[in-house]
Amino acid sequence: MASSTDFLLALENVSVSFDGFKAVDALNLYIDKGELRVIIGPNGAGKTTVLDLICGRTKVSDGSIKFKDQEITGRKEQEIVRLGIGRKFQTPTIYEDLSVFENLELSIPRGRNVAGALFWKRTEEVNERVKDVAAMIFLRDHLDQAAETLSHGQKQWLEIGMLLIQDPELLMLDEPVAGMSVSERIKTAELLKQIIKNRSVIVIEHDMKFVESIAHRVTVLHQGKVLAEGNMNFVQSNPKVKEVYLGH
């Protein structure tokens, strides 16, 4: 098996089981530099579990995950983050008790140890960076607002912003438009098109219209295995895919 690859991320033969149930079963998945990959699949197909495995939240039972040719299975979450993988959760996961500004400030990838955090200075550069990202995620006028008072869609954007400011090489988004209004979805699609420049992105999404508007390549997962992979037309016309997912 090829162990050295040109891929940014390579999952080979990855399995994980929970109490005997194989949530992910001998999965192979390769992501190129600069690629936008959408993962779709019915409920329970293992989509979120795949992201959990990549970012170290769930331990791999078997197989190998390589990021930039380094084995990352068994590493701690924060180490994987520091290698350049960012993760957005399904429900907005932000710091409700802090302001939008503070949420973004904490996500700047510097001063991450105890001493660095204790003697952190809010420099002009920090201010600028936070304001730039806030403008991108449509929250420029909400910097002083407590994050808990944001709308659901704004919380989703804030979490995306917190990832952007980390500047990861691989960005993983779990249902970024879930619970958003139509106008928020359109804005989010624009936002995603902007942020996928210069980085690889894995998106899990249910909303097929949204998928069509952003997708390059689509991977269909079913029962922990890859059912089909290719561009949107190819996947949509695949009879197996129709049967398990799209047809109903």
Partner: protein
């Protein structure tokens, strides 16, 4: 919100200034030395409460074993004072003169090895901080690296408090047992018992407490303080922002324990003894209650809460000694049910907005709900 936070930081500063005036000027003028010495004793618990504001109020780590660190600090100080009080001249009636009285009663004939360094004041002062901090570090590293938290952590700290008491009581030849280390007299020849010395120790305690409050305020205001709040809120997100959460928890737990230890050392100096009744489960939980009553997120609130509850305890138990524990339990229930943010929360949420509206300072009031 950031506006509001700036306001609350200014408020905290005003609060610290008021506490300083209260403990440095008002109380010494109002109270005789007996009562002032009692206040000094209460203030030593306030060190613990300030530590709890950091580790419980801000980070969400509830420790029910802060008495252990208070006690370790106190015992390290008491060990030095006891050795000084146990000179050969002072203890010539003992069968082995020159060792602390309780050792002699327990048939020890020489000073145990680990007691010997406590002949040196610099060593003892370093040990006051280092021993409890090291204990907190070991416990914290063992728990937080394994991601033990919440109720499990609280129970383990409580077990530690129980273990510590049993250890001290059980090894009375080395620790003084249930009576503790008593009859402390001098610090480098300076008698700590007369009223004059008590005044000086009271003020030393005040300044150390104010210093501790400023350290706590610095930590809370730093980015580390916001990471602590973020950890309380969404621990997983903090990890996925690239921080090693365990290290931050260990840091704040050690800091809180070091603060408790300073309180313990000042206790031994001002009260003149140290005993296991300030180490175990009950005092540890009482300290959590002091902090909760004052407001577990407010540094000033914790100090005021400690003073008020202890003042109430003294008043109450002088008149109705057997009712005090019920009153304390009732108070804790009342805090949890009626004002979870403690007295500090009442002041910032209720009193100040009302004062503002009475004085017609309407600018920052929340706008009234629109009429339907």
């Amino acid at each position: 919100m950031s506006m509001a936070r700036d306001d609350s930081r200014t408020l905290e500063l005003i609060g610290i200034a008021l506490v300083a005036v209260l403990i440095l000027v008002v109380l010494p003028m109002m109270l005789d030395i007996f009562r002032l010495n009692l206040v000094g004793k209460y203030l030593t618990y306030a060190f613990v409460a300030v530590g709890l504001v950091l580790c419980w109020g801000h980070t969400g780590i509830l420790s029910l074993g802060q008495g252990v660190f208070f006690g370790l600090g106190g015992y390290c100080m008491a060990a030095f004072l006891k050795l000084e009080a146990s000179s050969v001249a002072n203890t010539k009636i003992q069968s082995t003169p020159g060792i602390p009285d309780f050792m002699d009663w327990n048939q020890l004939t020489e000073l145990p090895l680990f007691w010997i360094p406590f002949n040196s004041l610099p060593f003892a002062l370093i040990a006051v901080i280092a021993v409890p901090t090291l204990a907190a570090f070991i416990l914290g590293a063992a728990m937080f690296k394994r991601r033990v938290g919440g109720v499990y952590f609280a129970i383990i700290t409580q077990a530690l408090a129980a273990v510590m008491t049993i250890l001290i009581v059980g090894r009375q030849g080395y620790t003084g047992g249930i009576n503790g280390i008593t009859d402390l007299r001098t610090l480098l020849g300076w008698d700590i018992r007369p009223d004059g010395a008590k005044y000086i120790l009271y003020f030393v305690c005040c300044f150390l407490l104010l210093g501790t409050m400023f350290v706590a305020r610095f930590v809370v205001a730093s980015k580390l303080g916001r990471i602590l709040v973020a950890t309380r809120d969404k621990e997983e997100r903090v990890r996925f922002s690239g921080y090693d959460v365990a290290n931050f928890k260990i840091f704040v737990f050690c800091l809180a324990s070091a603060m408790a230890a300073i309180g313990g050392a000042m206790f031994a100096l001002q009260v003149g003894f140290m005993s296991p009744s300030f180490v175990g489960i009950v005092p540890s939980i009482e300290m959590v209650i002091f902090c909760a009553v004052g407001g577990r997120q407010s540094i000033v609130g914790a100090v005021i809460g400690t003073l008020l509850v202890n003042w109430g305890k003294t008043l109450f138990s002088e008149s109705f000694p057997e009712l005090w524990l019920f009153a304390m339990g009732g108070l804790f229930i009342a805090v949890v049910l009626a004002f979870p943010r403690g007295l500090a929360g009442l002041v910032t949420d209720q009193l100040i907005p009302r004062l503002g509206s009475w004085r017609g300072l309407g600018q920052r009031q929340p706008s009234p709900a629109p009429a339907e």
